[in-house]
Structures are given as structure tokens and as C-alpha cells.
Amino acid sequence: MSKVLVVLECKNGKLDPASLPGITAGQKLAAASGGELHLLVVGAAVEAVASLIAEAGFGAKFIQTAQHPDLDPPTAEAWSDAIVTAVQTIGATSFGGTATSRMRDVLPRVAARLDAPLVTEVTGVTGPSSFRREISAGRAIVELALDGPLIGFTARASDFESAVPGGAPAKVQNIPLQGISRRGTAVLSLERTASSRPALTEADIVVSGGRGMREGKNFAVLERLTDLLGGALGASRAATDAGMVPADLQVGQTGKVVAPKLYIAVAISGAIQHLAGMKGSKTIVAINRDAEAPIFQIADYGLVAKWEDAIPKLTSLVEAHKGAHKGG
């Protein structure tokens, strides 16, 4: 019997929505292999959140808990101890999770310790032990088959739907842990970027600015449009490297991969590395003063204009549209 173990993350005593696409990937893998789905909750005290997740079901048979004081704050060292033990205890045949920065940190370490192959940032499950993923900044799609009694994966959030609660409640089981250790590491601080906006990778609408915005304060006009649309703010590497906006807003091969319903690229030329992070978007709008900018080649709608002119105009048009929509 194959057993798929998906590692979850929690935030403020709740399941982190970032983990939901990984659950979907786990469901697909369990379905492809006719196996059962287990979800693993890791932390210092996770009983309460585990029972919430168990009620939500998510098609899982068991919610496994791994509890130890040294598992919070999370470190790759201690978490890999817990995950390795969980895989061995339940006899998992595969393990994985959403390709968050935490999972990308932890799961290759787990794979090495268990001598297992791993495929990172998969965009699809194609069989009981095969996956699809992109390489070379999205310029090629490969299908990979993994051999061995245990395999691992991380799932790209933009390519899997968020799992929704449903099905029979799962049963909670506790994994006995021994020898959990941070290996002498210390987490000195963990600063989350405070934002009232939806997370970049979860937003339906993303408005991104590039080098052409010239300086950080000019992003204010994009923020107004973003908030009016209820979206998330993004940026190209040129803008984050220049310090116009924080690094975690970067969309692209070396930043976040997003696939919103609407992506508005403002003053972004469209280097291949940026396209790799947003070309899965349903509708792409490009606004750039340079008609030759490569971004226009993948945009559904292009506007050759200076942002200084176009964005304020667009903002008031959106405002009017929203007003009319509400009224009638």
C-alpha cells in the first residue's frame, strides 16, 4: 500500500494556506498510486491545529503530528529529524509539500538522509512516481520518472489548486520523536513582511512594477491601483535589486512564481527570467513606453504608454467601473 506524506506549515495557530496546493499534489499522487494520504503537522504544540485539519479532512486518512519544543521556530535541521522519523514510522512511499521557501530548505535535506530521489517545483503529477516540471526559466517542460521505494516532491503553488476541506474527517496520530536537534543553530529573528494585501502567490490579481518605475516612491501609484483591485503588489528583479521595493516582492525565476487571473506588468521589459515567474497567468496586461519590449510578446493586452500617464488614468477608470458595478 503506497502512503503519501504531505508536510504542512502552520501560521498563527492555523494551517498556512500556502500548504494547500501541496495537499492537492499529494491527493493526485495518492490517487495515481491507489494509496492513502497522510498529512504531517510539525511544531512545538500542534494538537489543536491538527484536530482542525482532521475535521477539514482534505481526503486524508491520517493527520500525523510531530511535536517537540525544538521544532518551533522551524529549522531545516530539527524539522528534517521530525520528517525523517515520520516517514520511517508510517512507512511512507512518498513525501512532499508545497514548494515554499521552508519546504525547499527542508525537503532536500530529508531526501538526502533517506537516500531518496526528489523532484522540486513540480507543475503536474503524471503517474504514481512521475512528474512534470519546468527547466531553464520555463523554456522547456520535462517529464521525470523516479525510481526507488521512497520518492519526494515539492509542488509549485501556481500549478496546483488550493485543496478545499471535504470528505470524511481524518484520524489524528502522534509520531513519537527522539533526538530532535537544531545542530547548534539559533534563529535570531524572523521578520514577516507586514502587508494588508493578499499573499503574492495566492492573489487573483497581481500588479508588478519594473525598472521603469525608477524609484521606490513611484510604486505608490501602483499600490493605489493594486488596492483598488484587491490584488498583490509584485516587482521585477531590476526593481528589487535597485532597492525600490522589498526582495520578497520579486516575481521571476529567482523570485516567486505566480499565476493569477490578471497580471499587470508596468514598466517591465520582460526578461526571460521575469517571464518564467508569471507566464502562467490567465490574462496578462503589459504597459510599457517601449513598443519593442519583449513583455508585449506574451501579453494578451498591451498598452504602449508611459506609466505616469497610463496608471492614474487606469486607476480612475477602474474606480469608475467598480462604482458603476456596485450601483447597478
Binding site: 515554499t100 527542508v106 538526502a112 522540486t120 517545483e121 522547456a140 520535462v142 545542530r183
Partner: protein, 291 residues
């Protein structure tokens, strides 16, 4: 202090990929850098230009900034670069020696015929054999984008790790490094005792990202990885490169990740260029129905 830096050659990421319908070359690869065989097509790499992976340039720059005492004559660490590749394809290794690394280790093997666990085993074996204190790696290679090897080495050698480093401070008295890591929704500062593994993100090459306690705190480097000097290029030819093989390191080469098929991504239908913001709104509301 000895710093080992992993470096890899990749096809020039600015060149177009060529696809061939006929499978050719090696059968399996998790780091698809060769000619991938497949039922669904293959990438034709017969005429590609090989270059060094950009993140590895950042990793070497990081190591050099840790090792050198700007304004002093002493050197605080030895920088060793290691690459797994055919011995004849070592140009990138020479480039990093020219940039300032002290010496190289080349693991002579077909890097396209092994999975990342094998690569990690080879790197781990070199780390132990060379008695290193710190492994610095780029966070990923721009071709396969696996982002696995650094963390795997840490796991194999049971060492602490700090991934996606945006800045790094070496505390020599404490024998530790304090690393600011960029995550999805913020930054984490982590102190790790040596020996340890660090993987580098883009911002590690900003002017003040790396501190070693000897170079003045206020010293600002030029942004980005340094270019090789003429003297560096001349010196590089004289720097030692030890050649190893998987057998000499006691590592069995395996690949449990097989490439089944390679395809070009579907093309997006060509879009429309609009004249005014009004037209754009109209399209978004009536045609795309996203507003």
C-alpha cells in the same frame, strides 16, 4: 579556515533552446545538462555555449569576500572551488580561479548521467577529504533549477545549513556564521556553527552583504561578482587543480531520476496592442472578464 564552493557549467541561459524530435545521447538525467533522450523529444545541446552558472559566481564572490582582508595583507581563508564535469570541460573552473579562488578540485565524470544525490555525495566526499569548514553554493543552477545539492550535502554530513542567504557575517572568535535568509514572506536571521553549508541568493552580492570582521564594516564592494583581472587570468593557469573521480572518492554513480520527455512550452496566442486605457478597461471587463 577552508571554504569549498560548488560551481557548475550550464548552457548559456540567454541563448534559445533548440529542440530535436529524435532522442539522442544519455538516457537519464536529473540535472538535464546533456542531450536528454526521450520519447517526447530532446534538447539539442550539440552547439550550445557553456557558461558558468550565475549563482555560482555569487557563491565564489561571497567566499572571496569572506577570505580577503581589504586594507590588510592577511588572508583569512583558503577558497577551493569544486566542479563535477568532464575533465575536458573545465573552462568555468579556470574562470573562477582567475576570479581569485586559490585552487580547484575537479571530479571527472559525466554530470548529466547522475542524480543530485550522487552529486551531493561527491561534494560531501571532497568536503571531508579537503577538511573544509564551510560549503558555499549558489541556490540553484539556472538550467535544471533543482535547488537540492547544498541541502543534501548538509543532510549527508549532518551539518547545519542556511539557505537562500542574502547576507552573511562571519564571527571568527565564535566559529560561526550569521546569515540573513530570504523566505517567502519575510527574512530570517540564523546563526549556524561551523562546519556548515550556506546557499546564496541574489542579494548576497550587494556592496555590503558579506562581513568577515577584518575588512572595515563600512567597506562597500562593487555590486555583483568581480571580474577576473589580467593578473588573475595569468595566475589561474598556475593554480593547482586536483582531479578526482567518483571511484577515487568512493562514490557509486546512480540516477534514480529518469527523463521521460522534453517539450517546448505551449505558445501563448498573440495579443492585442491597444491605443488607450479606456480600450484596455473595456477589454478586461467585456472580453477577458477579469474585472
Amino acid at each position: 579556515m577552508r571554504i569549498l564552493v560548488t560551481v557548475k557549467r550550464i548552457p548559456d541561459p540567454d541563448e534559445h533552446l533548440k529542440f530535436s524530435s529524435r532522442p539522442s545521447g544519455a538516457e537519464s538525467s536529473s540535472r538535464p545538462t546533456g542531450a536528454e533522450a526521450s520519447a517526447g523529444g530532446a534538447i539539442d545541446r550539440s552547439s550550445v555555449k557553456w557558461v558558468a552558472n550565475a549563482f555560482d559566481e555569487y557563491a565564489v564572490e561571497t567566499a572571496l569576500r569572506l577570505a580577503e582582508h581589504v586594507g590588510g595583507k592577511d588572508r583569512l581563508a583558503e577558497v577551493v572551488v569544486v566542479s563535477v564535469c568532464p575533465a575536458a570541460a573545465r573552462q568555468h573552473l579556470t574562470q573562477f580561479l582567475a576570479m581569485g579562488a586559490d585552487r580547484g578540485v575537479l571530479v571527472d565524470a559525466d554530470d548529466t548521467a547522475m542524480d543530485s544525490q550522487t552529486v551531493a555525495r561527491l561534494i560531501a566526499a571532497v568536503f571531508v577529504q579537503e577538511q573544509c569548514d564551510l560549503l558555499i553554493a549558489g541556490k540553484l543552477s539556472q538550467d535544471s533549477e533543482g535547488n537540492e545539492v547544498a541541502q543534501r550535502v548538509a543532510g549527508l554530513l549532518d551539518m547545519p545549513q542556511a539557505t537562500f542567504a542574502a547576507s552573511l557575517r562571519w564571527d571568527r572568535a565564535d566559529k560561526s556564521v550569521t546569515v540573513v535568509c530570504e523566505g517567502d514572506d519575510g527574512v530570517e536571521t540564523k546563526r549556524v556553527p561551523l562546519p556548515a553549508v550556506v546557499s546564496c541568493d541574489l542579494r548576497i552580492v550587494l556592496p555590503q552583504s558579506v562581513k568577515n570582521g577584518a575588512t572595515a564594516e563600512t567597506h562597500a564592494y562593487q555590486e555583483g561578482p568581480r571580474l577576473a583581472s589580467l593578473r588573475g587570468i595569468t595566475m589561474a593557469k598556475r593554480k593547482p587543480v586536483a582531479v578526482q573521480t567518483p571511484a577515487s572518492l568512493g562514490v557509486q554513480v546512480t540516477s534514480r531520476v529518469r527523463t521521460v520527455g522534453v517539450q517546448a512550452p505551449p505558445r501563448r496566442p498573440s495579443g492585442q496592442i491597444l491605443e488607450t486605457p479606456e480600450q484596455l478597461i473595456e477589454k478586461l471587463v467585456r472580453e477577458a472578464k477579469v474585472l
